[in-house]
């Protein structure tokens, strides 16, 4: 039987090969029709070709677009409302929204393989530039260059995904930034001064550690400064750290993931390793922050603060959406300062996929989603920050989203909005090539740092060579 089985299997392999060859050439056509990156200029061609004057004219052929996105049921509702507004303004355009609840990348990649991509959609940031390079995304500069309504300079630099000079893959749906969020009642109960909100007054590191120590309480009610403090029986932690976003600390200490041209791995260099060590010390030396293991049982964001599992969190500004509806007495502070006062900014872009038959209308939709007037509920709920500069600069526009609602308490404008606007630094996914590969090397090493098994310097030195070998450079941005 074995002989026969072997024969049969090998035959199948051979046939498989032939078939795969055919499949391969199909794939090629798919790729080609999607266009390589050189095909991007065709965007503007087809764009102008499809243009039929201003939105006010009536003689438009009906156009149907597909828009994909993710998000909670609430986000879903608001985004769909925004789209409804768009269809009202452009009655000849129908937008079919497709909400993808989970595994967004898997679903979108599969759609790409089947040439069934939507026209417009959110895309995960760490995938975007690769998709752009492979010619699956339009260069938004082709639209921006000729658009009378909006210019590149109107858009926050930190929300832009560039895959080469002059090639803009996408603009964030929203700007997100890191800050401190805290439960005011806890501070007041323990008589600890509230965290500063202005960047100039930010905690220095020692003050931050001390504050966190005062806020960390064991089962017997002793804080972490007490000599009898029992780190095994912690009831309330001083601060919850987003260990996955350790670059927040690295930036604050003047460190980098890679050097400017992406030729050198910088995380093992002193400023970066020291910053990571500081965070690890909060966990293992001072016992004021839960380890990743302990974090698994502490609800993140608003719930952790509300239940007083943690007194402060370092988190993204999106947590405001939950805080705003929590009825909790919460406050916002700027991140502690190490070398510099900076905050890390994040966000996933909305892109136009190659293969759309209506790039012009797709661009109108992107513009619509970029305009906070159409998605104001998302901004005022605290989930999104605008991507247009004037919404940070003009007081009447700022008032529209960042004032007078429960998600944006006093101090918000200094601690998050202005800080992100003035001191924001993009997360590495905006510029480092093949970041998932690099992370696959770094993250396991950092597991041992957060658990206190090794020092940050030791762990990072251990993977330095491997990480250096995995570097593929950076995407160049326009200067």
């Amino acid at each position: 039987m074995n002989g026969k089985a072997g024969w049969l299997l090998s035959t199948i392999f051979v046939i498989g090969f032939v078939l795969a060859g055919c499949g391969g050439s199909n794939g090629n056509e798919g790729g080609a029709s999607g266009g390589s990156s050189d095909a991007a200029p065709s965007a503007s061609e087809s764009g102008t070709e499809g243009s039929s004057g201003s939105p006010s004219s009536d003689d438009h052929a009906p156009v149907t677009l597909k828009y994909t996105f993710w998000g909670s049921p609430n986000e879903k509702k608001i985004q769909e409302n925004a789209i409804k507004g768009f269809m009202k303004k452009y009655p000849w355009i129908t937008v079919n929204t497709q909400h993808i609840p989970d595994d967004y990348v898997t679903k979108l990649t599969t759609m790409a393989a089947g040439n069934q991509l939507p026209d417009v959609g959110l895309l995960q940031g760490d995938q975007t530039l690769k998709w752009a390079e492979e010619g699956r995304i339009y260069n938004l500069m082709d639209f921006l260059n000729d658009d009378p309504d909006i210019q590149l300079s109107d858009i926050l630099e930190n929300t832009q995904y560039w895959w080469a000079d002059g090639k803009l893959a996408g603009i964030n749906g929203a700007l997100e930034a890191m800050a401190i969020f805290y439960n005011k009642d806890v501070f007041q109960q323990l008589n600890v001064p509230l965290p500063p909100t202005k960047a100039e007054e930010a905690y220095n590191w020692d003050d931050f550690v001390k504050t966190a120590q005062q806020l960390t309480i064991d089962q017997k009610g002793r804080n972490a400064l007490d000599p009898d403090f029992d780190p095994k029986q912690i009831k309330q932690y001083g601060v919850m750290l987003p260990t996955g976003l350790y670059m927040t600390a690295v930036y604050a200490n003047g460190g980098q993931l890679v050097n400017e041209d992406g030729t050198k791995f910088m995380l093992a260099e002193p400023p970066a390793a020291e910053a990571i060590q500081r965070w690890a010390d909060l966990i293992n030396k001072y016992h004021v922050a839960p380890s990743p293991a302990q974090q698994k049982n502490i609800p993140g964001g608003a719930t952790g603060l509300q239940t007083k599992k943690v007194a402060m969190t370092i988190d993204g500004q999106w947590s405001l959406a939950d805080l705003g509806v929590s009825k909790m007495n919460f406050g916002i502070g700027v991140l502690p300062k190490m070398q510099k006062e900076v905050t890390m900014t994040l966000g996933d872009p909305i892109v136009i996929f190659q293969g759309t038959k209506h790039p012009k209308e797709a661009w109108e939709l992107v513009k619509w989603m970029m305009n906070p007037d159409s998605t104001l509920e998302l901004q005022s709920s605290g989930l999104w920050m605008p991507v247009l500069k004037k919404w940070y600069q003009e007081p009447d526009l700022v008032a529209k989203w960042a004032e007078g609602n429960s998600a944006h308490p006093e101090g918000y404008e200094d601690a998050v909005m202005n800080n992100a606007f003035e001191n924001g630094m993009q997360q590495p996914i905006y510029y480092v090539r093949d970041l998932p590969d690099l992370n696959a090397i770094i993250d396991p090493a950092l597991d041992n740092v957060w658990s206190g098994k090794t020092s940050a310097q030791e762990a990072l030195d251990g993977i330095k060579a491997k990480a250096q070998a995995a570097l593929k450079g950076v995407y160049t941005k326009p200067q």
Binding site: M1, G16, A20, P436, A440, P444
Partner: protein, 312 residues
């Protein structure tokens, strides 16, 4: 898998006609699954084998790279290949025997004439029905080093406590422990198998004055070997492809301690976007499982008893 000699006694002409008819019907009855294989399975398998020799990343065109994907795995250019192979093998070796024995024991227990049998069976199957997203929350709490129930119990018994899935050494054993809790499917197959054992065999043991142990080892276990065989083979195939726990609970950590093969494949395919390499990884696993399965099949004639063949 032995030759079936039952119709040797028939006359040559008749025998030939019958054999031909039997072959015809055999093929006919099996045709749905054969067609299903050709339509739904063969193409994708062939496709994946084909792209394992290319640098296909799903979005790009593919170009032929020969054995480069395989080479970069075996020569260690990809730093995770051997690690994930090791981690997965460890999981398989630990989990398959435990799962099979445990499920068999539970099935034997639930096959006795006990009160509330239906309720007990349903209860023991419950963990299999709770979606992983929900059950993983519970297990994360059970495993929590400070507050988790497992450590609380150990502490109460004055036994050393563990870091469970958060320790490199204990992560895989912890996940094996968790997998024992969802052996409901295997148990159901054993239960179904236990129904097939003719009662008169047990009655014969009673007549001979045999004990419960005789019944178990002389009748139940031998009669259950086809089912045991099935569950072992499926256990192997399933454990080699363990995915959900790593995907949802550990993310492959700590320090790659649970970087299971399927999780590694998924990451390679959809995060690093190297479908060519992911396909090569999958085909290596395919060959490993196939060889092991063939080995188990070969050995089966030594320990699996088929009523349909045993009496031929």
């Amino acid at each position: 898998m032995r030759e079936n000699g039952s119709d040797r006694r028939a006359k040559p002409g008749k025998k030939w006609r019958r054999a031909r008819k039997e072959a015809l019907f055999g093929f006919l009855f099996a045709s749905p699954v054969i067609l299903g294989y050709l339509i739904f399975v063969f193409g994708p398998l062939a496709f994946s084998l084909g792209i394992s020799f290319t640098d296909y990343n799903i979005l790009s065109k593919m170009s032929f790279v020969g054995l480069a994907n395989y080479r970069s795995l075996f020569d260690g250019t990809n730093p995770f290949f051997y690690k994930s192979l090791l981690v997965t093998s460890y999981y398989v070796v630990l989990s398959v025997p435990l799962q099979v024995v445990f499920a068999f024991a539970v099935a034997l227990l639930l096959n006795r004439s006990i009160r509330g049998k239906a309720v007990f069976r349903t209860i023991f199957f419950l963990p299999t029905m709770v979606p992983v997203v929900a059950s993983s929350v519970i297990w994360l709490w059970l495993f929590n080093p400070d507050l988790g129930l497992l450590n609380q119990v150990l502490k109460f018994l004055h036994l050393p406590q563990s870091q469970w899935i958060f320790s490199e050494r204990m992560a895989v054993p912890s996940l094996v422990l968790m997998s024992l809790w969802t052996v409901g499917g295997t148990m159901v197959i054993f239960l179904a198998g236990l129904q097939g054992i003719p009662k008169h065999l047990y009655e014969a043991v009673d007549v001979d004055g045999g004990t419960a142990r005789h019944k178990l080892f002389r009748i139940t276990v031998p009669m259950m070997t086809p089912t045991l065989f099935f569950n072992t083979v499926m256990g192997f195939i399933g454990s080699f492809q363990v995915f959900g726990q790593a995907y949802i609970m550990t993310g492959g950590g700590p320090n790659n301690a649970t970087l299971f093969y399927s999780f590694f494949t998924y990451r390679e395919a959809f995060e690093s976007m190297r479908m060519g390499s992911a396909s090569a990884i999958s085909w290596i696993l395919f060959v490993i499982i196939l060889l092991l399965t063939l080995l188990i099949f070969k050995s089966s004639s030594l320990w699996v008893y088929y009523e349909s063949e045993g009496k031929a």
